[in-house]
């Protein structure tokens, strides 16, 4: 509705209301036994899709992960595997 729009085209809703999970064909799965908590996966994620749990292990935010697999590629101990989505 026109009445609901601001007078000028100003966007103010943070983009994380948009979920991009459906873009994904493969999802990263982290083997915590191999993870060294080096944060490389977090550092190189273009989608801000990696958070940390209470003890510092990375957690994939699957609502936003697009499955680019940079994290798996850059993970030195190879703790991340890309698994095909159903």
């Amino acid at each position: 509705m026109e009445e609901d729009l601001p007078e000028a085209p100003i966007a103010t809703t943070p983009s994380d209301v948009n979920h991009t999970a459906s873009w994904r064909t493969f999802r990263p799965v982290i083997d915590l036994k191999l993870c060294t908590k080096c944060n490389v996966c977090w550092k190189f994620c273009p989608d801000d899709a990696i958070a940390f749990d209470g003890v510092g292990f990375p957690v994939i935010r699957l609502d936003y992960c697009k499955g680019c697999a940079i994290c798996a590629e850059e993970c030195k101990p190879k703790a991340i595997t890309m698994v095909k989505e159903d």
Binding site: L5, P6, E7, A8, P9, I10, A11, T12
Partner: protein, 391 residues
């Protein structure tokens, strides 16, 4: 209040200073230069504590004004002819982003062939950009209208950019006595700009954005509605200005001796002054002629023209530009405005004064006499130097 004998260009400069603009961004072009030279002096001396961005093009001049305005600054620029055409993309941008930039334009013909003389082709070709357009007749009107343009552009019901034009040399380089309102008077009339629809530091907000077909039309319709509201807002603002300064230039379509007129000539800019003298002379000869001045082209004074049309039999429109493939822009727009009116006067267009050719009293008289006595041609070029009659 003081009176100074100044050019139309300086009238623009003084108006920008009195408006306490924050940011001026401009690029030189003949015959606009004196406007920005004077502002540069004001800024350099500290008389105007603004930022003057010396840009490398008119395109950048307008972008810098838009960006400064997006953050809440009061901004001003000035240009002419080719410079205005280079800005074209950003004129749309200023309206679309709802940034109330105010601009002085010295109307100058467009090349080629190069011409530095007056012509309305430069601003006429910007009429679809969403800018409010005022055409000035005198240096006093230019100063007063520029001050009003700031308040109008920034008005919460409007929030659109506005240009105030003056004919090259006839106003830009001709001095006239101009009453300069006191700073206290202007401050009372024009408060600091309200910061609405502007960027705020630390907040997630994107001004401009992009939309799919689901929103674009609605944003455009908002501009359309704002332009409609501009008419009434301007009339209020001009009343207010008159209360403070004692001067009222007569709204969107000031008229002269039209009450009992059967024939009216519609003019723009300085040709109006010439035509006013012709009306007086022809009235002395018993002709019931009058004058209406298109002071605004955007918004177009449709309501005022329809009111006028109910009282007269013949309307001539004097255009200082031409829309190739059609006719003079003012003529076609007057025709469009009157089509839905109950009364249809005989309507004719006269194209005159392109590229700085004088619009003389004799020329205006000839056109009015022709209008009084003939029903056609619908559109004609006045005093074209040709072996055959022009039409």
């Amino acid at each position: 209040m003081t009176q100074l004998v100044i050019s139309g260009n300086y009238a623009q400069s003084y108006a920008a200073k009195l408006a306490r603009v924050h940011v001026v961004s401009a690029y030189p072009i003949t015959p606009q230069t004196a406007i920005v030279e004077k502002i540069a002096e004001f800024v350099a001396s500290g008389a105007l504590p603004a930022e003057y961005i010396k840009v490398e093009s008119e395109h950048s001049a307008m972008q810098a004004c838009i960006s400064a305005s997006a953050l809440g600054a009061r901004t001003y620029t000035a240009t002419s002819s080719q410079g205005l055409l280079l800005m074209h993309e950003l004129l749309h941008w200023a309206a679309g982003a709802r940034t109330p930039v105010v601009m002085g334009v010295v109307n100058r013909a467009v090349a080629p062939p190069w011409s530095i003389w007056t012509d309305h082709g430069d601003t006429m070709s910007q009429r679809d950009t969403g800018w409010i357009q005022f055409y000035g007749e005198s240096n006093q009107e230019v100063l007063d209208t520029t001050l009003m343009a700031f308040r109008l552009a920034e008005h919460p019901e409007v929030r659109l950019p506005a240009m105030v034009t003056e004919d090259a040399f006839y106003l830009s380089h001709t001095v006239e006595p101009v009453d300069i309102p006191g700073q206290d008077q202007v401050d009372a009339f024009l408060p600091p700009r309200e910061r609405s629809s502007t960027l705020e530091v630390g907040k997630a907000m994107r001004l401009g954005s992009f939309t799919g077909p689901e929103h674009y039309m609605e944003f455009r319709h908002k501009i359309a509605k704002a332009m409609v509201r501009t008419r009434d807002v301007f009339l209020e603002i001009e009343d207010d200005y008159a209360r403070i300064t004692g001067r009222n230039h007569g709204g969107l379509l000031p008229t002269y001796k039209t009450d009992d007129a059967d024939t009216v000539l519609v003019t723009m800019g300085t040709a109006t002054t010439t035509a006013r003298g012709v009306v007086d002379a022809m009235r002395a000869d018993g002709h019931k002629v009058g004058l209406a001045k298109l002071r605004t082209f955007r918004p177009f004074p449709v309501q005022e023209l329809r009111d006028l049309a109910t009282r007269v039999d013949r309307i001539g429109v004097l255009d200082r530009s031409f829309t190739f493939g059609a006719a003079g822009a003012a003529f076609t727009e007057v025709a469009g405005a009157l089509y839905a009116a109950p009364h249809h006067p005989q309507l004719r267009g006269f194209v005159a004064g392109l590229g700085g050719r004088d619009i003389t009293a004799a020329m205006v008289r000839e056109a009015l006499l022709d209008l009084l006595t003939r029903d056609g041609p619908e559109s004609s070029w006045v005093e074209l130097k040709s072996r055959t009659e022009a039409s």
